[in-house]
Symmetry: C2
Subunit: 142 residues, 2 copies
């Protein structure tokens, strides 16, 4: 993918992660993330959750497919854009890739430096990038 798209994706502070439940229902949550080449990492952090076993985790265990969207809403609709990555997701509980992912997230978010994410990490192996409109339409300053 064009590096300008990857750069803009990784610069975003929040994404919206979509997964699918075992019975075919969509699920979408906001999440923090960090991009590393063609892999996107997101951690289950210490923000209070309604249950220990998060639906995003059980969905990924059930169906593996995941999609993450980044966009920036502004009232001047001529400036709207979004980037979406689709891929297959894995849940990491420990190990060297888990440790590396946590380091990437801690590097990106100073909030994680104060409280490291204790939960599992979601790794999305990106298989498709979509950018709307194409990056050729983007202001060169952004």
């Amino acid at each position: 993918m064009e590096s300008v798209v990857a750069h803009r994706l990784d610069a975003a502070r929040v994404g919206r992660l979509a997964t699918v439940s075992s019975d075919g229902h969509p699920h979408v949550v906001p999440c923090c993330f960090s991009l590393h080449g063609a892999i996107l990492y997101s951690a289950v952090d210490a923000k209070p959750k309604s249950s220990f076993k998060l639906r995003r985790i059980s969905n990924i265990e059930a169906s593996h497919f995941a999609s993450l969207l980044v966009d920036d809403y502004v009232e001047d609709w001529s400036l709207l854009w979004w980037i979406r990555v689709d891929g297959t997701a894995r849940v990491l509980e420990s190990g060297s890739e888990y440790d590396q992912a946590i380091e990437l997230l801690v590097d990106k978010y100073e909030q994680y430096r104060r409280q490291r994410p204790p939960g599992p990490v979601i790794a999305i192996d990106i298989t498709r990038w979509r950018a709307w409109p194409g990056p050729e339409s983007w202001p060169s300053s952004s």
Copy 2:
């Protein structure tokens, strides 16, 4: 649902709509919307699209399930919140409900007053509301 949650949902200018393709892949796009009781309307508008037949439409025709998320990212994570509605979606091409939905969208978005959305309308019949954290945690000023 508590009216404070419905009010905050409808006050949001953008949502992220998740659907599922016929082969079980999640899909997520930003969209404008308007809430009307327990139905949420979103229109395919005149912003340039990559194809005439949008994936969100073919997904809804295939699986009906839809989920829309509203959130507001801020760096003070103690202030984060999101609202999500899940439901079954219908595609409206014309008729009185279509006309009413367009009016609601035109009322909410002055951008639509300049250019009415020409495309079909997605109607989500909401079956479940989720708010995180619970609205009892929300600042009373918001």
